[in-house]
Subunit: 159 residues, 3 copies
């Protein structure tokens, strides 16, 4: 048992994999924060998606009006979906990239740019900042993911 643990610990002790674990976790926690922001706005704006969510506001027609959309809630939800669309590729391609044996410095550069790009994207979406700030931050994360995908295919290609 302890031999197995040691073997796995070696895996996570690899610096590139530790860096991947760190930045993947940070970016996932950032994505999870979108749920809290959505919930906070739904409660403060009284804009809910389900009739059972408004039971505490009383029964009848006066409560029904709170099952509605709110512009700011929808904005956070678009940011959340954009996170899913971009962080899922990073999780998959980033893990394979980390296993492909890149230089530590190159790996750190990729992971740091992606993480910074997604944090900037979220702030630019929620404030919102004027374009093209949101567009450029999106493109930065996208380009870094494509760069890692290129190395995975170059290293591991087996069709």
């Amino acid at each position: 048992r302890s031999g197995e643990m040691a073997k796995l610990t070696q895996l996570i002790d690899n610096e590139v994999l530790r860096a991947y674990a760190t930045y993947a976790t940070i970016v996932l926690i950032k994505m999870m924060l979108m749920s809290l922001i959505t919930t906070y706005l739904r409660i403060t704006r009284k804009a809910f998606a389900n009739s059972e969510d408004i039971a505490s506001f009383g029964k009848g027609e006066s409560a029904k009006k709170y099952v509605r959309t709110d512009a700011d809630v929808e904005r956070v939800r678009r940011g959340h979906l954009n996170d899913l669309e971009n962080i899922v590729p990073f999780l998959g391609i980033g893990l394979l990239y980390a296993l492909s044996g890149p230089d530590l410095s190159a790996a750190l550069l990729h992971f740091r740019i992606f993480t910074a790009a997604r944090i900037i994207h979220t702030v630019a979406y929620l404030v919102p900042f004027p374009q093209p700030s949101r567009g450029l931050s999106w493109a930065g994360g996208y380009a870094v993911t494509i760069s890692m995908a290129y190395r995975v295919l170059k290293t591991a290609l087996y069709l």
Copy 2:
């Protein structure tokens, strides 16, 4: 070749990784069931998203009315999206947590609570149960994921 296979089999023979593989697969199959429920409801309620989906109901205006939204279909779709938002972090953070060498009993506790929370969340969403049952099940899965993220960062942090 067989030496490599043996090495990989050792990896999956680790009990924590086997537990991760089991619960991750269960929770992903649960999420995939949402697609079947959506399809079932779209057909029985005649509420489709695309004009090509209603060709079997005939051409012309009488068929066009079936390209529409249905309250129950939208409810399942919200549950499905909530699954994506919460199961993606579990998949990524849970794998890194499993590689961080936790005690088997602690790992099983995390994986079981998450899986139970997401199954309860789905039932609470689809029946629906009165709140706060859905909210609490969502929070249970969320808290367990944050707990695993904390251990990953404590064990592997490499910025």
Copy 3:
């Protein structure tokens, strides 16, 4: 350091894992293309989701009309969401399947069918092809994922 790298390279040198890395990367790049198609259509159709996205069209009411939905943009977005709903299970279950030590030929068959099914699904959604072409391609990817999940649970089950 080089010993660790060698160990990791062995992992990615396993043929089944290399095949997983290849097809997972291809299918993720395919999913990422949906973002580019959405952006292209939003610009050419002038159909944006946020008021800050239309600042280049001038201020005032004449620009506000471009914050709107477009049938073709919504179609691509439905295809993108369907990708997320199906590719996330493939990424998670496929990795665990690859670690479960399957025959190379069986693994290649699963990965190739899934990748082909998702490419056909996208083409069938965007052209669009008459049904049941989109439905069948969706079902093909779904069935292959369930088949891999069955093997993962049979090999690794630890409840």
